[in-house]
């Protein structure tokens, strides 16, 4: 039973200074509730929207990166529905019929999947405004005695990306989303790691069956879970001889299930019409050319460059280019430390671990790339051991402490003085006569003795020298 999935993705344009139709700031994550508001985004009587042109520029970047056809005229329309999060009871959006056109149509994104590449076609890209944010004190609307509305989100710019139903598994959807999120990060449209940065609605069906729309999926992990849940639900219905009903369902993240949205008594009619407050904006070839010539390097181009210029594996290149700040960090550190492969290894396995433990945001990274580079050169020169490096890396990354300073003040330099090491080995041999006898018979037992020596120096002894001295003394 082949599954067919298409998605509607809403990306919040959080990397512009002001909202889509007013000059209120976009930093609503950190602002006190309902502070970033004005007559326009509150929909006060008499207020009028004025387009923020930098959003159009960002949307143009996205359309160019996805090879979408940009309409010559940008027409905003009103989409009407009554809902408490919508101050005007209509949303300013775009539409694709009766003289109304989407911002861009067509295009594609190739996703690498299972060693091969698959093309996901884009149906359209639209610019629209975000409604306000409703929250319920008890989490569940039915259990809450009241609800709270934060209008800081009202009027935030959104880019809506609608794909064709070209995906066949939750893994493909995830791969597509990850690539798009990386892309919008590179295009300076959206910080995908901020809360609420994107939302997904998925149209899911089993070949031959009716289509179910699952709304309100807010994270990558939930996307996979929601799609898998829904596919299983539909397969079970079909296996049991039933047929899937065409409907809209909501993803309940807390319970991990999709639930049917309360059946409407009527078919929703959005009464779209062009917004008379916003005259059509001509998108000229000059404008597009200008945006095109100022496009940042695209993530997949950068990944290829990392493979070719730095000899990284595809996996390493993909991880390092998954966020622009990380790729920038890597290339900046390379200026201070010349071994790309060792640097990539440290960043992927240790550095990212530290960042993710602290929420995954680049904002926790305080240490500059040169300091990480310096650490690696200390390791290469035998000043510190890998163990010490890993031990002090968090202080360098999170607290911007100077590696040299840490090593000096904490006495962490590697002990490579042979006479010191020989004395320590003699001590260990005296204290562990049985282990020495074992090691003479069984070469594998040598590690116990090495461990004892290292423990005496709290890891500071140069491991290669310790091994060499222990081996020699065992032979004597």
């Amino acid at each position: 039973m082949r599954s067919i999935i298409g998605i509607e993705l809403h990306i919040q344009v959080n990397r512009v200074g002001s909202k889509l139709f007013c000059s209120c700031p976009t930093n609503y994550y950190s602002a006190e509730a309902n502070r970033n508001t004005c007559p326009v985004c509150l929909g006060l009587p008499g207020s009028l929207p004025v387009v923020n042109y930098s959003v159009i520029e960002k949307a143009t970047r996205l359309a160019l990166a996805l090879s979408s056809r940009i309409s010559g005229s940008l027409i905003f329309v009103r989409k009407h529905y009554f809902y408490p999060d919508l101050p005007k009871n209509y949303q300013i959006s775009q539409y694709d019929r009766a003289g109304m056109v989407p911002f861009a149509s067509g295009g594609y994104l190739d996703i690498g999947f299972g060693g091969s590449s698959k093309r996901i076609r884009i149906r359209r890209i639209n610019i629209e405004e975000d409604p306000a944010k409703i929250s319920y004190p008890e989490g569940d609307p039915l259990k809450s005695p009241y609800s709270l509305i934060d209008y800081n989100r009202s009027g935030m710019p959104l880019l809506e990306i609608v794909t064709e139903a070209d995906m066949e598994s939750s893994k493909e959807v995830r791969a597509f989303l990850e690539k798009i999120l990386t892309l919008v990060d590179y295009l300076d449209i959206c910080d995908p790691d901020l809360e609420g940065a994107f939302r997904v609605d998925a149209n899911i069906s089993i070949e031959g069956g009716e289509r179910v729309e699952v709304k309100n999926i807010g994270s990558l992990r939930d996307v996979e879970k929601a799609i898998n849940y829904e596919l299983t639900r539909q397969r079970n219905i079909i296996r049991a001889g039933g047929s899937v009903k065409r409907e809209t369902r909501h993803w309940d993240s807390a319970r991990g299930v999709t639930v049917t949205s309360r059946a409407k008594e009527y078919e929703e009619d959005y009464r779209y019409f062009p917004d008379p407050d916003l005259p059509p904006i001509e998108i000229t070839k000059e404008f597009i050319d200008n945006v095109s010539s100022n496009m940042p390097e695209l993530p997949w181009v950068r990944a290829e460059r990392f493979i070719e210029s730095y000899g990284l594996s595809r996996y390493e290149a993909n991880v390092l280019t998954s966020r622009r700040w990380l790729a920038d960090y890597f290339e900046n550190a390379l200026k201070y430390y010349g071994n790309p492969s060792k640097l990539a290894d440290l960043l992927i396995n240790d550095f990212l671990g530290i960042v993710n433990e602290h929420g995954g945001s680049p904002r926790v990274v305080k240490g500059s790339p040169d300091k990480v580079g310096k650490l690696l050169s200390f390791l290469d020169r035998g000043v510190i051991s890998i163990k010490i490096l890993k031990q002090i890396l968090p202080d360098v990354v999170l607290r911007d402490l100077d590696p040299e300073e840490i090593i000096r003040s904490r006495g962490l330099d590697v002990i490579s003085d042979r006479s010191v090491i020989e004395k320590l080995v003699d001590e260990v041999f005296r204290e562990n006569p049985k282990a020495v006898e074992d090691a003479k018979k069984n070469p594998k037992a040598i590690n116990f003795l090495i461990g004892k020596v290292m423990a005496k120096t709290r890891g500071k002894a140069h491991p290669a020298i310790v091994r060499e001295v222990v081996a020699r003394k065992l032979r004597e």
Binding site: S47, N89, R271, D277
Partner: protein, 486 residues
């Protein structure tokens, strides 16, 4: 002091020469308001007299452009800290936290907001009878309506309880009451005055306009309130190096420099007395050198239905926001879901005519009817605009009655929407085309004022005001005739 003949120009001259005169003027003005207003009901909210005088005197002392000029403002134009109701119960407690751009300009130039004037609820009407605050009465005959929807703004000026006022004109709402009250009502080209802060009825047709006692007064205030506004994407900078005021005062322009045309369809169904008054005036203008031709534009018959389809569609959308959430009246929401809550608020908050237009407008925009009504109306609007711009180019300004009749009695039209809508037959053309239009007093029929309307292509405002000024010179200004009140 008698203030019946003091318009904007006279006020500014006196106030700048003698700031003390301002306080005298204001005390006479408020005394007159106290006497006349209870009969007329032109204001919903009045400014605090003490504060108003204080502001005005200070403005005059500072030699500001308007020197404390009191301006009455239609109650659908937002005034910071002053209730703005749209004549509706649903906004009966709404105090805007911001000024409309036009209001801000007036204040910045030293004007004082005298009060907020009555109107048909959300500007939907032509008689000022649908207001939640009761009807306004015509100063020339208290049993008659003042026209609408800017009836309060026109009646206040006619009754000399405001020297000048702002109104709004979506399908004739400034010109119609000007015609019924013997005042001058001007609707500029769409975009010349910012709509920011004007509470929308039909956004593509709405335009703030000015009602005054003379063309000169209109031009003076237009210079203050016009201009491109970064807060209104549909606003424009009027392309002229000269001010409106200095342009109309330009002595080099004569009536003979202008051309005018009578469109026969616009004279059909006109009351015979109105027709007689206006034809006489046109004859006088011709004898003074105005070139007048006559043509037929059969398509103009479609203007009224086209107008109502577009206006109702846009209104149904613009009025969606009134749901008792962020502003306006509210109720305890406990125990009901939000659909019920909205229905309750809208049910009690809106009057019959507003509900009628929201329902019709929602129908027009619905799936399946959208193409049939809305798109077709837009197409006719486009064709009409093309046709009229050509007519203007070939024949000059269109001259017509502003309304086919003089002011009807209260209650005469209110229950028959079709009769009510027909009052707009002459005026809607200007809104559909987006050009300027003015109504000037042209005399009396049966003791009631008659208005002559001039309509032109977009951006002909300057020429139109110049022509109206010359006409006024020949047939006399409305300023000289005050209704017998007080």
């Amino acid at each position: 002091m008698r203030i019946e003949h003091i318009g904007v120009a006279e006020y500014i001259e006196n106030a700048r020469n003698d700031p003390e005169w301002v306080s005298e003027y204001y005390s006479v003005l408020f005394e007159r308001i106290g006497k006349v207003e209870p009969e007329i009901n032109s204001y919903i909210t009045l400014a605090d007299p003490e504060k108003a005088v204080k502001n005005a005197v200070e403005s005059a002392k500072r030699k500001t452009t308007l020197a404390g000029l009191p301006v009455a403002v239609k109650d659908n134009i937002s005034t910071k800290g002053m209730k703005t109701t749209c004549g509706s119960r649903i906004l009966s407690n709404y105090v805007p936290p911001y000024d409309a751009t036009a209001v801000r300009s007036i204040k910045e130039h030293g004007g004082v907001i005298l009060g907020k004037t009555n109107l048909d609820e959300f500007a939907m009407g032509s008689t000022t009878e649908t207001s939640f605050y009761g009807p306004t009465r015509n100063p020339w005959d208290l049993d008659r309506v003042p026209g609408g929807s800017s009836g309060g703004s026109a009646a206040a000026v006619a009754a000399r309880i405001a020297p000048v006022s702002l109104g709004s004109d979506t399908g004739g709402s400034v010109r119609n009451p000007a015609s019924f009250t013997g005042t001058v009502g001007f609707k500029p080209t769409y975009g010349v005055i910012s709509r920011y802060g004007l509470i929308a009825y039909a956004s593509s047709l709405d335009q703030i306009g000015i009602i005054g006692l003379s063309v000169e007064d209109i031009a003076l205030l237009l210079d203050i309130v016009s201009g491109e506004d970064p807060r209104d994407s549909t606003s424009i900078a009027y392309p002229s190096a000269k001010s409106f005021y200095s342009s109309i005062k330009d002595g080099d322009r004569y009536l003979g420099d202008f051309k005018a045309v009578l469109v026969s369809e616009m004279w059909r169904g006109v009351d015979p007395d109105v027709n007689t008054v206006l034809k006489a005036v046109i004859g006088k203008l011709e004898s003074n050198g105005l070139e007048v031709t006559e043509i037929s534009i059969p398509e103009i018959e479609y203007a009224l239905p086209t107008y109502y389809i577009i206006a109702m569609a846009e209104a149904s959308s613009n009025l969606a926001r009134y749901s008792g959430m962020l502003f306006g009246i509210s109720k305890d929401p406990s125990g009901v879901d939000w659909v019920k809550y909205y229905s309750r608020i809208r049910g009690i908050g809106f009057g019959r005519e507003v509900k009628r237009r929201i329902i019709l407008g929602s129908y027009i925009l619905s799936e399946g009817f959208f193409d049939q009504y809305y798109l077709k109306a837009l197409k006719i609007r486009r064709l009409l605009k093309q046709r009229l711009v050509k007519v203007y180019g070939d024949h000059g300004f269109i001259i017509s009655p502003t309304t086919p009749i003089t002011a009807p009695r209260l209650g005469e039209n209110i229950d028959d929407p079709l009769k009510l809508y027909a009052l707009d037959v002459e005026t809607v053309v200007a809104n559909l085309v987006g050009g300027p239009s003015i109504s000037v007093p042209a005399g009396f029929a049966g003791g009631l004022p008659v208005g002559l309307q001039i309509t032109g292509p977009p951006l002909s405002d300057l020429d139109m005001l110049a022509l109206a000024y010359r006409i006024e010179e020949i047939i006399g200004s409305g300023k000289t005739h005050a209704p017998p009140l007080g």
